[in-house]
Symmetry: C2
Subunit: 428 residues, 2 copies
């Protein structure tokens, strides 16, 4: 039995609410999986103006879990817990937290219902272990799990709250969006509303973005600008807090106009957009199509374009012309071009793009040829040299880059700049 | 001044050494980056038979860092620290640890030398801040940084040791491999030597692998089997400890033979191998070549094959025939085939593979066509249905799969099974 006084909470008096993250699992402490839940939750907390001070991972060990919860509850007023809610005997989160709160354990009827339905549908027999994962501490507020079986829950311990979720990332993020985020906003803001939007930026380094956005957050009260690197893009988040939701939204809209003015075309999308999805939407809306002619990227551009469901409506395929011979045979690049300029040249990529467009009969064709490294560089064409050319109705564009970084980065940058080139052409 | 008694260490008497990981940085607690250092270190510790019990992240805050170190040193006999060794004022690790040890701070001559050389080469002027990152606590054992400027170091605190490294992952892993891992092996084993090897397994689920390897570790003393998921592969590590290095190596060799017998062809490589690199080596050794004909994977297979530097020696490119029209026009698939069997069929992929091989004049051609989802499934051909066909000298192979998972998983599985098919054919 845990002494309840161990869980006495000492809330630091501060305008900003303090939170901690505790992730539980032997697999974490053995390094079998990377803990992406902690960074996800920390980023969400940061957006909400909640200060995350500690992130702790421990094993599926009763004594260690008690110590982790006790320490976190002493320092923070909200403790986010991930893991230990599964069906096996070493999933102890429910039991340890119930004990800490001095309450029993009960089965959540809603989660039990869903569990039974799922097993009936699959024709499996329910075992006692399966029932473990629909248990919650008595008196807990249950958060339904839209993507799995074990529900999350909120439990008050002294002056602090514990918000527990299963460790499977897609279940955790689903419960977070549906229940935990709204609840935290309530707890943190004391009535303050949060308006936020994420902008996807490509083609400007973070330092440049930061420079261009200098002073932006001071244009409105309680506004902040957050960055997140998602190579080769940068995510810029605007967050505004206000007691009045309408006022927060208005301030956000004002800041968004300013941000878009300052960053221009580098802002290609918002929220869940991606460069291939935005490009795809632009092509589809216009009834246009694209094909690719790839050398050093070896199919990566086609692969990225087809990450988007439904991409067959505008992506018509292409050629991976990794050899000179394929460039000649498939795309009609001239031998003279290869002889005088080489495969990594404006001339070659322009001929690749023109040849691909003609052969496929598509609206656009984009061609990439470069030296991805680590070998193959020369003083004139160092590793990272990439040529990108695009053929469209009556247009032929070309750009020459020398990208920094290793093979994978060079190839990825080439694909992103190629997509940006077509997007600019399509939407101009 | 920190009271030194705060750092009194209470080593738990145990055969297995206990270690903790502390990662430091505001960017971690704001969720701007995912902490991959912790899982890397935890996995390495696990291989060494060192039990990692806690992983803690805190901000660049003096009081929090003191608390983190104090807590970790009370529980563990080795504390691995990442972060807080950079050039800025909020990089506090050196100062806080020196204070804890009751020693001053000094500049490491070797690191200073490298710093000066680097700046001279780039033509930059050294600022006092730059000099911050070559400081270490007095009396610390310095670990040179092969990939950056800030060195790592070891500092004894009471009965425990702190091993500190910069937070940049490629610097941390380099210092780890060169200095920290050997030092930990020394500390942990008390003279025991570790022999380990990682095997790369594709085509068997982890549960199946586990079943086939049941009892393996009991064939030798102090042997363990560890798993790590690297979708769509599984990494299986064999670890053997012995006072005698030769004996450890012999036991490992015996276990390896047994493992290879039990898992057969599913073990395609070791250590830093990858399926495209192993396939590439096999093709290159035989002077053979491959081309691809991709539909639902949209270029992903070509992209994976060309991740390997030097892949142009055996990868000759291919076609991304995302539309039916491209399959007809580029690869000579017959209209009848599409009409009667559809694009996702044995007939279509076989014709794609044959057409690609003939057109490119390569030794092998592999074709993929499937329904990656989320849309496009039918009762006869549900989402996840993928056909893979391969044409080689006098051979034509085909397989039909129904893969589980979402779009990206289906596509990735298709590429891996396609590579496995060619590898088997090439090496048979």
């Amino acid at each position: 039995m845990i002494n309840r006084t161990d869980f006495q909470v000492n809330v630091v008096p501060s305008l900003a609410m303090l939170a901690e993250i505790v992730t539980i699992g032997d697999e974490l402490c053995r390094g079998e999986v990377v803990d992406t839940n902690s960074s996800f939750m920390a980023s969400e907390l940061w957006d909400m103006g909640i200060t995350c001070t500690w992130m702790t991972s421990c094993r599926d060990d009763r004594a260690d879990m008690i110590q982790a919860f006790r320490t976190a509850l002493r320092r923070a007023s909200a403790v986010l817990v991930s893991g230990g809610l599964g069906p096996t005997e070493d999933d102890l989160t429910v039991d340890v937290l119930a004990e800490a709160a001095g309450v029993g354990v009960t089965t959540d009827p809603g989660a039990l219902e869903r569990l039974k339905a799922r097993f009936a549908k699959a024709g499996y027999a329910l075992t006692p272990n399966n029932l473990r994962q629909v248990r919650v501490p008595e008196g807990a507020v249950v958060f339904p799990n839209p993507k799995g079986l074990a529900p999350g829950f909120e439990l008050r311990l002294g002056d602090a709250v514990v918000l527990a979720m299963p460790g499977v990332p897609r279940e955790l993020t689903a419960i977070w969006a549906q229940s935990v985020a709204p609840r935290l906003a309530e707890l943190a803001a004391g009535g303050e509303k949060i308006a936020k939007r994420t902008f996807r930026v490509f083609g400007l380094a973070e330092a440049h973005i930061d420079h261009k956005l200098a002073g932006l957050s001071s244009l409105a009260d309680h506004a902040t600008v957050h960055y997140q690197v998602a190579f080769p893009e940068t995510l810029v988040k605007l967050v505004v807090r206000d007691r009045d939701a309408e006022a927060a939204a208005q301030k956000l809209a004002m800041l968004e106009r300013e941000l878009r003015m300052r960053l221009g075309q580098a802002v290609y999308g918002e929220g869940g957009d991606s460069l291939p999805s935005v490009l795809g939407r632009a092509l589809h809306e216009r009834g246009e199509s694209v094909v690719v002619a790839e050398s050093c990227t070896g199919g990566m551009l086609g692969s990225i374009l087809t990450e988007v469901p439904g991409s067959s409506r505008y992506f018509h395929g292409g050629w991976i012309t990794y050899t000179n011979e394929a460039k000649l045979r498939e795309l009609g690049v001239r031998e003279d071009t290869l002889r005088h300029h080489g495969a990594v040249s404006e001339q070659c990529t322009s001929e690749m793009a023109r040849g691909a467009r003609e052969r496929a009969g598509s609206t656009y064709a984009v061609a990439i040829s470069g030296i991805a490294g680590p070998g193959g560089g020369t003083p004139e064409k160092p590793v990272g040299t990439v040529h990108v050319a695009m053929a469209g109705p009556g247009s032929l564009r070309h750009k020459h880059y020398v990208f920094p970084g290793e093979r994978d980065q060079v190839r990825r940058l080439a694909c992103y700049w190629a997509m940006a080139m077509i997007l600019r052409e399509v939407t101009q």
